[in-house]
């Protein structure tokens, strides 16, 4: 199982010195599939690797540097666009880690720009972004109504000329999810980074990453989320984190994320039965980078929708999606 190789290489970089070509091919395929190749390249920077592997890792480091530069540029553009509004731009996830130089940001793949703003300023933010060249990705009325009614963010927008996406959040979980994080507290306790940019407090960063991974998804990209969490945990105070997680209604999620992060990337932890299932899902990838254990993967896809929505709403949502030809893969 190459996902297991990937986890081992991240936990113990020196372990790669025993790999043969088949092992390396599996490790590289898994790291690319999990979008952890840049992170892996940083972790292996000091390790002697075979000559054929060196350029692959060097390319990954170059790509990661460009990702970070582009992400910071998008953040800069958003700050410029929102300057007249006097709204704090709170960066979430990868862009925040890169801007603040956090360990979780090293080599990290960064896709869209995610920002958090107060819910009562959403429409002003939306207008300012549209004036600065962002536009809606989809014109589909169903998806739009779905976002506005139930989600924790505006429908995704893309910049007309730069072709980069922005997700504007007003809280960190969909409104249909069971936990209801305190968005006002997230915003009030945000920390400045530089140049008008903010990020969540150290404890809230873990709460968000855990919520994103365990309460709001089918665990796609879970190994990367968990690597983030492992790095973020080192930056916060355990008892403050526990209080904060309880305040947001995310105590169980944060505790589970901590157990999984320590079990996979750290010194180990006692896992529950449910943890073992999640772990099996996270490691479901073969030596060609393919997802294995299709039934387990599909179970988590259903669960992720269940987590966000009451059952009747779920049925209606899946029906609308499937009628349009969408299939979980």
């Amino acid at each position: 199982m190459s996902a297991a190789l990937l986890v081992r290489a991240l936990r113990d970089p020196a372990s790669v010195t025993t790999l043969d070509a088949t092992g390396w091919n599996g490790l590289i395929a898994a790291a690319r599939a999990e979008r952890l190749i840049g992170t892996l390249a940083f972790r292996l920077a000091e390790i002697a690797v075979p000559p054929a592997v060196q350029p692959i890792l060097a390319d990954a480091r170059t790509d990661a540097a460009r990702e970070a530069r582009q992400a910071l540029w998008e953040a800069d553009r958003a700050v410029q666009a929102l300057r007249p509004l006097d709204v704090r731009v709170i960066l979430l996830k990868g862009t925040a880690y890169a801007a603040a130089g956090l360990r979780a940001g090293q080599g990290r793949f960064i896709g869209d720009l995610d920002i958090l703003v107060p819910r009562d300023r959403l429409s002003a933010v939306e207008q300012a972004l549209i004036a600065a060249g962002w536009e809606w990705v989809k014109k589909d009325a169903y998806d739009d109504a779905y976002y506005r009614q139930w989600m924790h963010e505006l429908p995704p927008m893309i910049h007309r000329t730069r072709d980069r996406m922005i997700d504007v959040h007003h809280t960190i979980l969909p409104l249909t999810a069971r936990p209801k994080p305190d968005a006002a507290a997230l915003i009030a306790d945000a920390e400045p980074i530089a140049d008008g940019l903010y990020m969540l407090s150290a404890e809230d960063r873990v709460c968000h990453a855990a919520a994103h991974m365990l309460a709001d998804g089918d665990l796609q990209g879970g190994l990367r989320n968990l690597w983030d969490i492992y790095g973020l945990l080192a930056e916060c105070d355990p008892s403050l984190l526990d209080q904060r997680a309880a305040h947001h209604g995310l105590r169980a999620h944060v505790q589970q994320a901590r157990r999984l992060a320590l079990a996979l990337y750290g010194d180990g932890a006692r896992l529950t039965l449910w943890d073992h299932l999640v772990r099996a899902r996270l490691l479901a990838r073969d030596g060609w980078g393919r997802e294995t254990r299709k039934a387990l993967v599909f179970a988590f896809f259903l669960r992720s929708h269940w987590l966000r929505m009451p059952p009747l709403m779920l049925a209606r949502h899946l029906w609308t999606k499937w009628r349009k030809g969408h299939r979980p893969t």
Partner: protein
């Protein structure tokens, strides 16, 4: 276009430039974007290289030291338009 707006160039927005016949290519390191521009844009950016905050009027006066710009109000409007467009690209910043 509002001629009273002022702009500046940030050192972080440094450009790499290359002239190709009558065009100038600008590589903006911070965004990773390549821009293709023609006169008077390179001249205009050149005269903001010191990082000072300028209005269209101030920039007009700087350019007028080296070039014949023709009627002042037309030249001023053109400069203001260029500054606005450059700010949208992130090559200059509203001050």
């Amino acid at each position: 276009m509002d001629n009273s707006l002022s702009y500046r160039r940030d050192p972080a927005d440094a450009l790499l430039s290359c002239a190709l016949e009558d065009l100038t290519l600008l590589y903006h390191r911070r965004s990773g974007q390549t821009h293709m521009v023609i006169s008077p844009v390179p001249e205009l950016l050149d005269r903001m290289a010191d990082g000072a905050t300028v209005t269209a009027q101030a920039l007009h006066d700087r350019l007028a030291q080296d070039f014949d710009l023709g009627p002042a109000d037309e030249a001023l409007a053109e400069i203001a338009t260029h500054l606005y467009a450059l700010a949208a690209l992130g090559l200059v910043r509203p001050a």
